[in-house]
């Protein structure tokens, strides 16, 4: 889910129009509005590494997308 607002140790995150409040007390790293996080039972537990996600997807696209469809 993507963080849309943050107030101290609590954030509101959204996916497909669904909003959830999430505690940030279990996260060691700083997160900000716009970041993607994994939320479980009302707590953010991990921040999505966007560079890593992009890299994985780029490799996949290279391997499997036919050139005429790229």
């Amino acid at each position: 889910m993507q963080i849309i607002s943050k107030d101290g140790n609590t954030a509101v995150a959204e996916i497909d129009g669904v909003r959830r409040e999430a505690s940030l007390m279990l996260l060691g790293e700083e997160v900000n509005v716009g970041d993607f996080v994994i939320i479980h039972a009302g707590f953010a537990i991990s921040k999505l590494d966007e560079d890593d996600a992009r890299e994985t997807l780029a490799l996949m696209r290279e391997a499997f997308t036919p050139e005429d469809m790229a």
Binding site: S23, L26, G28, A41, F43, I45, S46, L48, D52, F64
Partner: protein, 363 residues
């Protein structure tokens, strides 16, 4: 950007399927990979992953559904608590319809017990703050992903000075049971599809002993179809090369060291203990109990109650299914006497249960 669509890309999934087929062509021995996470169980059924794999490559489900591995005795304890005066039971929805020895929480609620489904244990803390005259008991069931959240809620209740918030805990940790299954000669597991979000907490390091001491390849894998296919391919490559290493396919979320902060919160509130797993029995060190410093929040200690004698459901094969030894279709109750509408065993109730997945999506 929304990453989900891309990790569900059909071209990529079928491309990976082709590559896995090519890789395993000419191999006569079967390959068996086990997942131990309810979300993987569901995703594999939902996306028809098995139908994309060569027939000799088998995916089996292990004890990955927290509700399913919770023995009847725990549910009976929760039921006994809900019958006490001035008690509100707060629980994740999955627990409601699980049949205990003689009744379920759903039936108890129909008889008048105050049982509320919450999304987060923090909602239960809020309930306790709102109802100072009631004892709010949260049913703490789940693996390493959920346990830090429960720990966090106990710390929050302690911080607010609440004396009416309790947790009836049955938390479990997954790596030790994986070792038990890895050593089972009947199962012959060739690789583990390691959980995604559990691993976000415990880190990929937690599986190193399985690769090094049990010589089983381990790949921490995400939940989307592209993730699962890629995880399976990584496992197959290790098997073919005769290797056993831990690899992270789900690197966008899981790191080697996991989430240290969450583990610190967990360790403040919980310590390892022996735990009873449905179908497997007691596994030393595979559960979590509330530390003495927070004993006032431990419903098992703070709220004495008489619990009925535990009975198992006749004919139910949940125990064998949780070990990956039989498939749902092998159970004589599956789809006839045991359905999602009228479940006999926990695996048919939970939205992450192996039988529920097989019933909903076929296979």
């Amino acid at each position: 950007m929304n990453y989900l669509d891309e990790f569900r890309n059909r071209e990529v999934v079928t491309g990976l399927a082709g590559r896995i087929r090519q890789l395993t062509t000419g191999r006569s021995e079967p390959m068996t990979f086990m997942e131990v996470c309810g979300t993987h169980t569901m995703a594999i059924c939902q996306y028809g992953i098995r139908s994309l794999l060569p027939p000799r490559l088998r995916l089996i489900s292990g004890p990955g559904c927290p509700v399913c591995v919770t023995p009847n005795g725990y549910l009976d304890h929760a039921v006994a608590c809900c019958r006490l005066p001035d008690v509100i039971i707060a629980t994740f929805g999955d627990m409601m319809r699980v049949p205990g020895s003689s009744t379920s929480l759903m039936e108890e609620r129909a008889r008048g017990a105050d049982i509320r489904v919450v999304y987060s244990p923090l909602d239960a803390v809020a309930l306790a703050a709102k109802h100072p005259g009631k004892r709010v008991i949260f049913l703490g069931v789940g693996f390493e992903t959920t346990a830090p959240a429960i720990a966090g809620s106990i710390l929050a209740a302690a911080g607010e000075g609440l004396a009416n918030f309790f947790v009836l805990g049955a938390h479990k940790t997954i790596p030790i049971p994986m070792a038990v299954l890895a050593a089972d000669p009947e199962l012959r597991i060739d690789g583990f599809i390691c959980p995604a979000h559990v691993s976000a907490i415990i880190g990929a390091e937690a599986y190193r002993f399985l690769a090094e001491e049990y010589h089983i390849p381990c790949v921490v894998t995400g939940f989307e179809p592209v993730d699962i296919m890629q995880g399976v391919e990584m496992l197959a490559r290790q098997v073919l090369a005769g290797e056993s290493r831990v690899e992270i396919q789900y690197s966008r979320v899981v790191k080697w060291e996991g989430n240290k902060k969450a583990r610190e919160v967990l360790a403040r509130v919980f310590s390892p203990c022996d735990a009873d797993w449905r179908g497997i029995g007691i596994i030393p060190g595979s559960g979590l109990e509330i530390n003495a410093a927070y004993a006032a929040f431990d419903a098992a200690k703070a709220i004495p109650v008489e619990v009925e004698e535990t009975r198992e459901h006749e004919g139910c094969l949940c125990g064998e299914i949780l070990k990956g030894k039989v498939s749902p279709a092998d159970c004589p109750l599956f789809g006839t006497l045991c359905t999602p509408e009228a479940p006999v065993g926990a695996c048919m109730v939970s939205s992450e249960g192996t039988c529920a997945a097989a019933h909903k999506y076929g296979r």
